[in-house]
Symmetry: C2
Subunit: 119 residues, 2 copies
């Protein structure tokens, strides 16, 4: 037991644990169909530059699949979660949930002394 570290949260992968990317993944997870660049931009409130970059990171990590095509004559980039991406996202979420539980409990505990026990 040289490593108790109950709050070390190793599962908070740096690729996922990032506002913009988290936002993107949530958007993608919520929509079974691929989403267009501009849709993601709107949904996540990102600038073009940042969206492009973060999508690149997610793709590199194998979390999303990006398809660059055309709609008529306009370029249209669409994006969807890969199965692995979905899996990792779910795993990450489990850790996040754990964090929230730990912390909420902790916050309650430290907030005032002994609280009335909820039923």
């Amino acid at each position: 037991m040289s490593e108790p570290a109950p709050y070390a949260y190793d599962g908070l992968d740096r690729v996922l644990h990032e506002r913009a990317r988290l936002s993107l993944l949530t958007s993608l997870a919520a929509h079974p169909k691929p989403l267009a660049f501009s849709d993601l931009k709107q949904l996540c409130g990102l600038t073009d530059g940042n969206l492009s970059r973060h999508l690149g990171v997610l793709e590199e990590a194998g979390l999303v699949e990006i398809h660059k095509g055309y709609e008529g004559r306009r370029p249209l980039t669409t994006c969807r979660l890969t199965p692995a991406g979905r899996q990792r996202f779910v795993a990450y979420l489990a850790v996040l949930e754990r964090v929230v539980r730990d912390a909420a409990e902790a916050a309650r505990q430290g907030d005032r002394g002994p609280e009335p026990l909820p039923a």
Copy 2:
């Protein structure tokens, strides 16, 4: 109205939304009494250097209070949440919780693939 961005999660403050710091804050929130440097190190699984740095950041941001004293002749640094720190932590947690809910729901939705694609 120009900003729907339902997944933009503005509340994910960069100072709090960071593995090491999140870990520290959770530890601190869980313990009403101030914690010692070495305790935090153990609890969060951090190296000396990184702990020092992150504590500095948290202090600078007014989230924690650091007290440098002595226990006998050894230096003993202790640390506790400030009221503002606790408040911001709780607020951050609320956002996190929202993320988890959104995402869990999203993941469930996208999981089953029977999309209603009417020919």
